[in-house]
């Protein structure tokens, strides 16, 4: 059989000449290349020469780079509705973190604490339970408020102070939420943020029975941790290590995670901090920058450091984590993981601090010990400095509709859409980044903020650019590890 009726590839080329741009952003790279991205997080690098031809409209249809741009939806050359349909679906997927509405609910059960960490925004060393503990009455109202959220998944996170100092209220809330959930049928997750210093066998037993996870603080090796986190006897690290072992024994190894806070002192010790996490058996570390709130702002001379210094610290820490992976010890750096998921996958992340619109209020709520409702943890820390801009209402006096539909939350959401924020709207990293209205309010007195002088912007730009370079030009082993984080 000879089939002569088949048509050639040329017969299926676009019927008209030329192409139209689909929305995209671009950024010139130091090596002369141009980075392009679109709203759904598709991206590629072009040579400067190819970029100029692309934007001039003179890119020939048979070049591979033309197909690259077309397949990733940077250009269209027909009247087909397919590109917009696909972009719409991908956009919906990326923004699907909005679907469930508020899923993270933080219960500040006490402000009391046995530590006097200078970077801590809110804690008090006191025995005045009446003044700084959440009451059962307030707890009951917070639980009711939480169940008004339509989210199919609810994460109940206990915060302090040292939250375990008011364990009775934690126990009551866990039992009450579990009881009410028999009818509600949500997926519930419990987490207690705790320094573990006062955890008892009885508490561990309760956590095991109710499937409660623990999130503790580990800032680095003993010399650094004990400097960052002073307590009477300077034994924070030693107590943590001992109690960490007990907690893992009781709950299972992966039921206990740790967070670190970076201080000016920490900046000198990225390798030691990462190694400490490996030594303590953690398979994840979150290299977090110091927050500018509360006490941290008041003592700014002691704690202020340039975002560049943090970036340098971050890159060194990340390199150390990658080094451990190369040597066969799997370990994830969580902030990179969040960004890589945005860069390398079509999915959204559940991370509320890097979203557009910002997660404040719509993804996360804080019920303070005194009944105040805040849009974010940082918002209530700011309130401790008597700036109550992010106080959305009070559990005893305000209805759910008024809090969640009120002008204050609407303003926060309005002012935290990167898509319309000066400096963000044209940034090629926008699809990977997020808005932080609390940070910019605290540091610049404006919810949107001024990007060129924003440490938040400078830090995220630096890290995103660094990761893109690692993916585009890094060695095979590095790329494999980074990809594996994104798709976990």
């Amino acid at each position: 059989m000879k089939a002569t009726f088949f048509r050639t590839p040329e017969a299926f080329k676009p019927q008209r000449t030329g192409y139209e741009f689909l929305p995209f952003r671009f950024m010139r790279w130091p090596n002369g290349q141009v980075f392009l991205s679109n709203d759904v997080g598709e991206w590629l690098f072009l040579t400067s020469e190819a970029f100029i031809r692309f934007t001039e409209g003179s890119l020939p249809v048979d070049e591979e780079v033309y197909a690259d741009l077309k397949a990733k939806h940077f250009l269209t050359d027909s009247a087909s509705r397919l590109p917009l349909e696909l972009l719409a679906t991908k956009y919906r997927t990326k923004k699907s973190f909005l679907d469930g509405f508020t899923s993270l609910h933080m219960f500040v059960v006490t402000l009391r604490c046995d530590h006097t960490c200078p970077y801590c925004q809110v804690s008090r060393v006191t025995t005045d339970r009446a003044r700084y503990d959440m009451t059962l009455e307030t707890a009951a109202m917070a639980v009711s408020f939480m169940f008004r959220s339509p989210a199919p998944m609810l994460k109940v996170e206990f915060q302090g102070g040292e939250s375990l100092l008011n364990f009775d209220v934690i126990r009551w809330i866990v039992e009450e939420v579990s009881r009410r959930n028999e009818a509600e049928q949500r997926a519930i997750q419990f987490v207690i943020a705790t320094n573990l210093s006062s955890i008892t066998d009885e508490m561990l037993d309760f956590c095991r029975v109710h499937d409660v996870h623990l999130s503790t603080s580990l800032d680095g090796p003993a010399f650094l941790h004990d400097t960052n986190r002073p307590r009477p006897g300077r034994d924070s690290h030693a107590r943590l290590c001992a109690n960490l072992a007990r907690a893992r024994e009781a709950l299972g190894h992966d039921r206990v995670s740790a967070l670190m806070t970076t201080t000016a002192e920490s900046l000198r010790w990225p390798n030691e901090i990462v190694d400490e996490y490996v030594t303590r058996g953690f398979d994840a570390i979150f290299l977090r920058s110091i927050s500018p709130y509360g006490f941290a702002i008041r003592t700014r001379n002691a704690f202020r450091y340039e975002s560049d210094a943090f970036l340098d610290f971050y890159k060194r820490g990340l390199a150390r984590v990658l080094e451990w992976n190369r040597r066969g010890t799997p370990m994830v750096e969580v902030f990179s993981q969040i960004l890589l998921r945005k860069i390398l996958t079509p999915f959204p992340t559940g991370y509320v601090d890097l979203q557009s619109p910002a997660g404040a209020g719509i993804s996360a709520l804080v019920y303070n010990y005194d009944g105040d409702i805040y849009a974010s943890d940082e918002g209530r820390m700011l309130a401790e400095m008597s700036d109550k801009s992010f106080r959305l209402g009070h559990l005893h006096s305000d209805a759910y509709e008024d809090v969640m539909g009120g002008p204050r939350l609407r303003t926060i959401v309005d002012q935290s859409c990167q898509e319309v924020m000066p400096g963000c709207s044209e940034c090629a990293f926008m699809p990977f980044c997020g808005a932080d209205p609390v940070y910019h309010w605290a540091t610049q007195g404006d919810l949107m903020g001024h990007r060129p002088s924003s440490a938040f912007c400078r830090k995220n730009m630096g890290i995103i650019g660094h990761l893109l370079e690692q993916i585009a030009d890094g060695d095979e082993a590095t790329r494999r590890v980074l990809t594996s984080w994104a798709v976990q």
């Binding site: 590839p9 598709e42 397949a71 087909s80 397919l82 798709v487």
Partner: protein, 390 residues
């Protein structure tokens, strides 16, 4: 290679008879087609619809027989529970083999595409009668069958007929999975995709080919402008109505180059796919006619195949390699290679005789062995397969 058609001589066969084969006398199977090798094995024949006999009895014996008989026909490939059609022309056409895991219903000869490598070139005929034949077949298929295919042609061209076949499979074969081969184009009509979704078949998969990450290249392969748009919109509609889909990519000279980019496109735009199959060329039908422009040795595209496969696998997508001999693909891909060639098409080459991996290998399409395009084979010796070398 196992034949699916055989020819003998028909007696009293005025019209086609579709029925289920029974080789032993059992009272409750009496409406079936009785199969014997020798005439003298026949006992009481009352109640059967017809008789199929390997040997031809004498003329006088036949004339005394009031039942339709098809005789002098090879019967070794027929077995209990098989569903066959006896044709007045003397043909015995097998529609279903109970002993085989690879059974497919043939929906239609028609198609709305004209793929360069189509193994079953379409014909413009009115074969709507096949809907009834499929429904009759489904009624006779052993309900314990694990999987059934539905192929063509383009099955969805039957529209309501297609839906009625899926529905019959759902109600009459509640333990059987149904795998449909479709170009997906008609599912661009959301109402059609919804109608399929609304059937709530218990275990349905629509296997849909996607050959490129851009419309011009895909449309060229399927020889239909606009097909890419139809298919991708169709896949999205199927996903919306919760019908599981499989993406099928045939790798050849027109598709291999952007295979990694296609993998990226699938991950970003068809993330919902339950399975992605990267397949070698079957040299049948149009593929034979277009062989000069299509064929390339699998060893020549191993780099692209490896990159695309591992890209998808790393990202948690379920990916398989079909129709490739183990010695033509990198060892990193062996975990994804499946023995995918239907038993009645499957063969091995002479050099495979002493290959250590033969039992793990899918072998060849008989059509490839018969053609002059043999992949470069390198029989695998035991030391190659993970044994430590000194």
């Amino acid at each position: 290679m196992i034949p699916l058609n055989a020819r003998g001589t028909a007696h009293l066969l005025d019209e086609q008879i579709l029925g289920k084969i029974v080789s032993e006398e059992e009272p409750h199977w009496r409406s079936r087609i009785r199969l014997v090798r020798r005439w003298n094995e026949l006992g009481d024949v009352s109640g059967y619809r017809a008789i199929v006999c390997g040997e031809s009895p004498g003329k006088a014996v036949l004339e005394a027989m009031a039942l339709p008989v098809l005789h002098g026909v090879p019967v070794d490939h027929l077995g209990d529970g098989d569903v066959v059609v006896l044709d007045p022309s003397g043909h015995v056409r097998t529609l279903y083999r109970r002993a085989s895991p690879h059974n497919s219903l043939f929906a239609t000869d028609r198609c709305n595409s004209l793929c360069l490598m189509c193994s079953q070139p379409p014909r413009k005929v009115n074969d709507d009668w096949r809907v009834q034949e499929m429904l009759d077949t489904i009624a006779l298929i052993d309900p314990s069958s694990r999987e059934l295919g539905l192929t063509g042609g383009e099955p969805t061209i039957l529209k309501a007929g297609f839906l009625s076949v899926v529905d019959a499979c759902k109600t009459q074969l509640p333990e059987t999975s149904l795998h449909v081969l479709s170009n997906g184009r008609l599912f661009r009509y959301d109402s059609f995709a919804r109608a399929l979704g609304d059937l709530h078949h218990h275990d349905l998969m629509i296997g849909v080919p996607v050959y490129a990450d851009t419309d011009d290249r895909h449309d060229h392969v399927v020889q239909a402008r606009g097909a890419f748009e139809d298919t991708i919109l169709g896949l999205h509609n199927l996903a919306r109505h919760q019908v599981p889909v499989e993406i099928r990519v045939v790798v050849h000279r027109h598709t291999y180059k952007r295979l990694p980019q296609l993998a990226d496109f699938i991950y970003r735009n068809l993330t919902f796919a339950s399975h992605v199959a990267l397949m070698g060329l079957e040299i049948m039908g149009f593929a034979r006619a277009n062989l000069e422009t299509l064929w390339m040795d699998p060893t020549e595209y191993r780099e692209q195949l490896e990159e695309a496969t591992l890209f998808l696998a790393t990202r948690g997508m379920n990916v398989s390699i079909y129709n490739h001999q183990l010695c033509t693909i990198p060892e990193t891909l062996w975990p994804y290679a499946r023995k995918s060639i239907s038993d009645w098409k499957n063969e091995y080459a002479d050099v495979c005789a002493d290959c250590a991996a033969r039992t793990a290998c899918g072998g060849f399409f008989a059509s490839v062995v018969q053609s002059k395009r043999m992949p470069r084979l390198a029989p695998i010796r035991f030391p190659d397969v993970g044994l430590p070398t000194a």
